[in-house]
Assembly symmetry: C2
Homo-oligomer: 224 residues x 2
């Protein structure tokens, strides 16, 4: 079945204390986002890569593509006001059936074997979302009283991307009106009535949002 | 008020794919555990450091102390069959009132200002536990049905150590019979009827349990 990926990178650099949005910062000498696109291309050179970027970033991205002689084919799409809108814009580019992996642009360390397992599972079961076990203790904090209580961490999973879906099902799910409940694409899919399938990913598939994360990614990349 | 720390390091090296238990692996040329003890000593040279190690590790630790000319004063105590028993053994060494910080030996990157805030808060409120916000989406998985549902991650905190307590209160709490509910020291304290006070710590205060964690710690240490 035809494979697609929608890679979303709409974040600003505010948490990075940088003027450059985090997805363009250099990791091992190359913008983070180029690493991310490469993971998908190296996994399957026939995959359709749809890259969703804010309108005001697109000229900058094009200049980086020239500067780094980045030749991985991709379709550039304009982002929306929220992540939900950006993903919806990306999904609307897909005109045929298939399987789509929605992925954060700032997760460049995704392992190919995780991606393979996600696509295989989604093909069989309609969806697949990467997750890892909670390694640390967890407490629930009541927002009203601020009283916290220990909860059983083995009953919780930390959710990552890619989140992979059968194309028509996820396109339909994104017809919903956006709500605060939508913290990721799996929650949109769940809201449409589907059961979410979780697949164990890797701790190294980190989301780079702080300067510390960038240093961690450099360290992981050297040894992967 | 007199300050103590009970540092617990009972883990084996199984998750590290190493024959050497993880707490003795080298971080920047020195065993992880020595970094951890140094954080407390550098914060307050008058603190009483109680180090709890498995019986079969103690001769090895003593040889490392000689080899590395490690001269930070500490009391060595024998661990128990579980983490709960080990902490209890450590706490039983304390013969006077004060404040005790219970800490994982494999968290060498604890920041002094976090430690200061924890001791200050515990002195005022009886206890203080380090935590950080969940950065990623979270799902609850029903253990029977394996059905998962999105939960509001802002209502959850990831718990770290140190967990800091007024000495007689935590000693009393550890008189309880051990149960599976005790995932950390705060849960023991909570079980005794106390309200847990959470203090924001730092993401860099990682627990080193895998080879990846060790590489991450090296990267963080270079830039701290």
């Amino acid at each position: 079945m035809k494979r697609y990926t929608v890679i979303v990178a709409g974040g600003s650099g505010s948490r990075m204390k940088s003027k450059v949005s985090k997805q363009y910062l250099l990791l091992a000498g190359k913008p983070i986002l180029m690493h991310t696109l490469s993971v998908f291309y190296n996994y399957d050179a026939t995959i359709d890569i749809i890259l969703v970027l804010p309108a005001h970033d697109q000229a900058y991205w094009q200049s980086l593509v020239r500067q780094y002689h980045f030749d991985i084919p991709h379709t550039l799409v304009q982002g929306g006001a929220t992540r939900f809108q950006s993903v919806k814009n990306g999904l609307s580019q897909i005109k045929a059936d298939g399987i789509v992996a929605i992925h954060d642009g700032v997760r460049p360390l995704l392992a190919p074997h995780t991606l393979e397992q996600l696509f295989t599972t989604a093909q069989q079961q309609g969806n697949a979302t990467a997750c890892v076990a909670m390694k640390e203790s967890l407490r629930h904090v009541d927002p009203q009283t601020t009283v916290s209580r220990a909860v059983n961490r083995t009953a919780y999973k930390v959710i990552q991307t890619p989140q992979v879906f059968r194309v028509p099902l996820i396109q339909q799910a994104f017809q919903a009106e956006e709500t605060d409940l939508f913290t990721d694409d799996a929650s949109v899919f769940e809201y449409a009535g589907h059961k979410i399938v979780l697949v164990n990913g890797e701790y190294s598939n980190i989301k780079i949002t702080t300067p510390e994360d960038l240093r961690i990614a450099e360290a992981l990349l050297r040894k992967l």
